[in-house]
Amino acid sequence: MVERSRIVRRRSPIKRALLYITVILVCIVFVFPIFWMIATAFKTRAQAFSWPPLFIWEPTTRNFIDIFLKRQTEIEAITGWELELATGAEIFFINSMIVTFGSIVLALLIGTLAAYSFSRYRPKGTDTLMFFILSTRMLPGIVVAIPIYFFYRNIGLYSTHIGLILLYTMFNLPFAVWMMKSFFDEIPRDIEQAAMVDGTKPIKLFYKIALPQVIVGLAATVGFLIINVWNEFLFALLLTERSVRTVPVAIASTRGEVGINWGLIAAIETLYVIPAIVLIFLLQKYLLRGMTFGTVRGV
């Protein structure tokens, strides 16, 4: 454990009070919009449109019920979403889960294999390939989206779950490779080397010895990849229609007959952000690692 260098000092009571006030103010600024979103989710349409804004009101759960329990035609009337027959709004949540799950399993599988190879065997051109994989992430999304759109239309992957899953796999691959490589780099090689001398097959070295040692890293990577895909909008907007749409696209296409129903939107956004928040409380140590492709340790 490296000795941490945080500033620890005895402070005067006034200084300490000032510190806490600053911290609290900062937290309020960053949390308030999220708090307001959750608050709005529990307001009726009239309450959401009131001036001055209501800080104390009688909360309603109508919005949450409307999303899931209303009949299709009513949801369409409230939100302007075009649903397929016989589906309600939960279809968007199901879609989001399908593409998130599918693409993460794929990216993790492909990425971990590559990361293991890059970390342990360093085949020729490893540095170039690693940098190349990283650089695909630097491309502006819309620049890649245009060719993909026409490509998908031609080969029949447009507006399919599998199409979106493949695309998100590509999207997440750089993170998976870089993060997993950094975790593999950290574990000692002695055991693997000893086993190799004993004639253990390479593939067995991978899943019997190396993989169990990076389970924590694997979990951190999963968490980070989930947030990436869960919140993605542009590709989902361009590559899906109607019944394949994910929640971010559905949110963006909400409209009402008379103005936007903010309570309803806030309710969907609230439901949608809960998994991400739970994840990050579990994985906060690794957040930074994910954002930097594993190059920087957590705080």
Binding site: R6, P33, I34, S117, R120, M138, P147, V296
Partner: protein, 288 residues
């Protein structure tokens, strides 16, 4: 087990990754590069007509495109600068030891979890001139009502971006500060270095690479900002906040000028690559 198995094993492991990159990045990019030399409208269903560099010539002589680039750069510079200053201040704040520090850091980083599109849409509600809570607070503080999305559109976009991404800067800089060796800080205290010298001699050399990395990531991400602006202002009012990514989206998916859109995509790509190289060179010079 034959020998070639051992030799090809490392290669076998990376083949799936390379296949994904090839089919979903390289191949589409080259295809788009090809299309950028054609006049082609996907809706009309006509065969593409080869026009050589006409698309590029038209784009590069089009003043409107350059105006969009200026708008984009204005946005990128103001957003990243604001995030850098605030992020640095927050990192210094959270570098201190106090009760509840972990919780405070987690709370401040929460905006990173919100889908940018959701943030964009919800800030439309927050900024609303007639019932938005932001407007309400401004009125409470200054006594004047304000229509952010109409009168200060660019500022609204920058503030939203800063709200969401300042925590990102903060995390990087904080990680840098934590990596400063403790004994160096202590000997700086013993030597009674001034605050400025302590920063210059002890802290800056350690945090510099992380600061540079954070700036690079943020600048590139800001350059391709789409979701938030698309949701918040749709580039408006007029074209005040029309970033180049919005222009590209419109060219491709509203007017369906496919060939031209591909050409514009490559112009943007080249500019991003040039900017990155310029930046990396500058970062190296700062280091010397």
């Amino acid at each position: 087990m034959p020998r070639y198995y051992y030799r090809s094993f490392p290669i076998l492991l990376i083949i799936p990754a390379l296949a994904v990159v090839f089919f979903l990045v390289i191949f589409p990019l080259f295809w788009a590069l090809g299309l950028s030399f054609y006049r082609y409208n996907v809706l009309r269903g006509e065969a593409p007509v080869f026009i050589g560099l006409d698309n590029y010539a038209r784009l590069l002589t089009n003043e409107v495109i350059w105006e969009r680039f200026v708008t984009t750069i204005t946005f990128v510079v103001s957003a990243v600068a604001l995030e850098f200053i605030l992020g640095f201040a927050l990192a210094l704040l959270f570098f201190q030891e106090f009760k509840g520090r972990r919780l405070a850091i987690t709370l401040v980083t929460m905006p990173l979890l919100i889908a940018p599109i959701a943030a964009g849409i919800f800030f439309k509600y927050i900024y609303d001139a007639t019932f938005g809570v932001f407007t309400y607070f401004i009125q409470l503080l200054t006594g004047i009502g304000v229509n952010m999305l109409k009168d200060y559109a660019m500022l609204s976009v920058v503030l939203l971006d800063a709200w969401q991404w300042t925590p990102f800067m903060m995390l990087f800089i904080l990680a840098g500060l934590e990596a400063v060796p403790k004994h160096l800080l202590e000997s700086a205290e013993v030597d009674r270095l001034s605050w400025i010298d302590k920063f210059r001699v002890v802290i800056w050399p350690t945090i510099r690479p992380l600061v540079m990395l954070a700036l690079l990531f943020r600048t590139m991400d800001a350059f391709r900002t789409f979701d938030t602006v698309f949701a918040l202002t749709e580039g408006g009012p007029g074209t005040q906040t029309e970033l180049i990514s919005i222009t590209l989206y419109r060219t491709a998916f509203k007017y369906f000028r496919t060939g031209e859109a591909c050409a514009l995509a490559f112009v943007i790509l080249v500019i991003v690559i040039l900017l990155t190289n310029l930046y990396l060179r500058m970062a190296r010079r700062v280091g010397e």
